[in-house]
């Protein structure tokens, strides 16, 4: 099944053409307003593939007027129904993609409609999120679009609304989740440690095993994004360092997220590539393998500014 989906890009285009008639008009309106605000130039016509325009500087904010120059590709999303736990119900229908690149880095702007804003994970509650996936070695023999495959890794940049909230200043406390919560006592808050911040933090780490182990999951790297590698479903592993950056904003049921990441070496000397996208609607219980995704989508890298 994985092989059959490998060159799904063509069928994605076909489905795009089929669905364009019933694409979400409200979302399109909101996006157009957001992108075109302050921009006098005409919106380029929709693209039938991802077009990463060459640009001197990459826009890092989803509201940046520079995005209006990049053609929009509407990528239909399909449920991840290949490995358990499967996503059996289709939720988010499309993700609208624009892209810019400067020869070494590539920036994607993803926008999708989500009527429920979820940025606070807790029991049975999940964060909205999105991801961009590129083959680590671009060539004729692409890895499987679903998280790559053994010996053919993919590079993924993952953005989470929960991390965005932390970057935006949400405090790391139980009251951020449950405003009326009271806690009798934390050992690290003992009066004997009150004057020693280092000792306090060391004590707090004892009761946060993921942090004590340096888990990237528990330590957003000052960014709402994380770089990951995978060689097949279930193998997702954080990259040694996260070099990507990102920023997401939510307004009127629309998430707009910019992901800026290094362009893999093998894509710097080509004008054709493939890319894949995934979107998680936290309010629909989507997390991990429960997601809406694309197959490989053709991407042009040679566009002039």
């Amino acid at each position: 099944m994985i092989t059959a989906d490998r060159h799904a890009g063509r069928s994605v285009q076909a489905r795009t053409r089929q669905r364009r008639g019933n694409a979400l008009p409200f979302a399109a309106h909101v996006l157009a307003v957001a992108v075109l605000a302050g921009c006098a130039r005409r919106e380029p016509p929709p693209a039938n593939e991802v077009v990463a325009l060459r640009a001197a500087a990459l826009a890092s904010d989803p509201g940046d007027a520079a995005w209006a120059r990049a053609p929009e590709f509407v990528a239909p999303l399909i449920p991840q129904d290949m490995v358990e736990p499967r996503q059996l119900v289709a939720s988010t229908g499309v993700v609208r993609v624009r892209a810019l690149q400067d020869g070494t880095r590539i920036a994607f702007r993803l926008a999708w409609v989500d009527s429920t804003f979820d940025d606070l994970p807790r029991p049975a509650r999940f964060s909205d999120a999105c991801a961009v996936q590129l083959p680590q070695h671009f060539g004729p023999d692409l890895p499987a679009p679903q998280m790559g495959e053994a010996g053919k890794p993919v590079e993924i940049t993952y953005w989470s609304a929960a991390w965005q909230a932390v970057v935006n200043g949400r405090p790391d406390s139980i009251q951020a989740i449950y405003p009326r919560a009271t806690v009798d006592h934390y050992p690290y808050a003992a009066p004997s440690l009150a004057k020693d911040r280092v000792a306090q933090e060391e004590f707090a780490r004892r009761y946060a095993p993921a942090r004590a182990l340096g888990s990237p999951q528990s330590h957003p790297p000052g960014q709402p994004v994380q770089d990951l590698l995978a060689e097949g479903p279930g193998t997702l592993t954080p990259a040694a360092t996260t070099r990507s950056t990102g920023r997401g904003a939510y307004a009127k049921t629309l998430w707009s997220v910019v992901l800026v990441r290094p362009l893999p070496e093998t894509m710097r000397s080509t004008d054709r590539a493939q890319v894949a996208f995934a979107v998680w609607n936290g309010g629909a219980g989507e997390i991990g393998a429960r997601k809406m995704r694309t197959g490989w989508v053709p991407m042009s890298l040679g566009g002039a500014p």
Partner: protein, 375 residues
């Protein structure tokens, strides 16, 4: 799905991974007849492991009043209802396990508790109707009885949490069968929380990972009993290692009570996880309820337990509970004493089956004065 042998349900069953037994399997026996729900075990665990941010609601150990108490709310009723009834034919369970009943696209039949389900840690405490002079205020399905059910992770032979994790972040230690969440690999998908029917994995919203009872493995590695065992003032608990039935040794305390005397039973064996905390069922509870909770061995277990007063070996071994902070690997009774040995065979505890009785008169006849009831 692989086919594996689950001795607790007397048959093979489907499981996500092939059968792979650890060198030895962590196991515990809880005597429900002795528990007074003082929650000292709960606090011992809480202060040791879950006093951090994001762990506020976590109770790796809890004690709930059955039939109505539960934490999280209705964990047992939810799973039982989803699973539907299942028939036992002798010692063989003919119904479906939660692995065999998994919905399409899922690895395990599960349900997700929400935060409100964790908001009542001691709901149902001591709820009991009946035996009231003018009659009960209301009629409930279970009148005039309750008992306390202490719960930790069962460190199952076929953990649902482990099988549900799509990332393989949960593993079962090959040396002792303790089930752990790898905190450096977990990404907080909460699939384990959904899958564990006993709801003994908890999501930490601060670290974004899921956490669970670790069986106090640093103590186990040192030959010592976990915190909730050594702090149990009712002395209801005993930890050790359980063998498969065909390998059972009568001088292993756990094997003796589980396999030889069959007085300690797994919790909801029909779920199919082969849980490794075994319960001596309460003698005051209607048998139909207990059969659903502990399987078809309940009748015999209670009869055996009731006869322990005239059963020096059984009574003797039960008196080892709570007698030592060390793990007892072997035991034997010598006349009126019960001896416990560590892994090397060294004697670590000797318990008299009957404590010597001293009668102290209320009056000191030599001095002709009344004795005060103080030191």
């Amino acid at each position: 799905m692989a086919r594996v042998r689950n001795w607790q349900i007397g048959r093979e069953m489907s499981y996500w991974y092939p059968e792979q037994r650890p060198a030895r399997q962590f196991a515990a026996i809880f005597d429900t007849n002795k528990c007074i729900a003082c929650q000292t075990c709960t606090l011992a665990c809480k202060t040791t492991w879950t006093s951090g941010r994001g762990q506020e609601y976590m109770l790796w150990n809890n004690v709930e009043t059955k039939p109505y108490g539960s934490y999280p709310l209705a964990w047992d009723l939810n799973v039982l209802e989803k699973l539907g009834g299942g028939k036992w034919v002798g010692d063989r369970y003919e119904g479906r396990t939660i692995f065999e009943a998994a919905q399409a696209g899922e690895r395990v039949l599960g349900w997700r508790p929400e935060d409100v389900d964790y908001s009542y840690p001691n709901v149902g405490e001591d709820d009991c109707a009946g035996d009231i002079e003018k009659g009960a205020f209301m009629t409930l399905p279970h009148n005039r009885w309750f008992f306390y059910l202490a719960r930790i992770c069962n460190h199952c032979s076929y953990p649902a949490c482990l099988s549900a994790c799509p990332r393989g972040s949960i593993y079962k230690r090959p040396e002792d069968g303790i089930v752990l969440v790898d905190q450096s690999r977990c990404r907080g998908y909460q699939e384990c929380v959904k899958a564990c029917p006993y709801k003994k994995v908890f999501f930490n919203p601060t670290t974004g990972t899921s956490e669970k009872c670790i069986g106090c493995f640093p103590k186990i590695e040192m030959g010592e009993q976990p915190q909730c065992f050594v702090n149990c003032i009712g002395k209801i608990r005993h930890v050790g290692f359980v063998s498969r039935p065909e390998d059972a040794r009568a001088d292993n305390p756990i094997d003796y009570l589980v396999h030889v005397r069959k007085v300690a039973l797994p919790l909801y064996p029909q779920f199919g996880l082969e849980p490794n905390v075994y319960y001596i069922p309460p003698v005051n509870v209607p048998l139909p309820f207990l059969r659903q909770m502990f399987g078809p061995g309940v009748d015999q277990a209670i009869e055996t337990y009731r006869g322990s007063a005239d059963d020096p070996d059984l009574a003797g071994l039960l008196s080892l509970f709570g007698s030592t902070p060390r793990i007892v690997h072997r035991w034997k009774r010598v006349n009126d004493s019960v001896l416990g040995f560590d892994e090397s065979g060294a004697e670590i505890i000797r318990v008299p089956m009957r404590e010597p009785v001293h009668v102290r008169l209320a009056v000191d006849l030599q001095s002709n004065i009344a004795r005060q009831n103080c030191p």
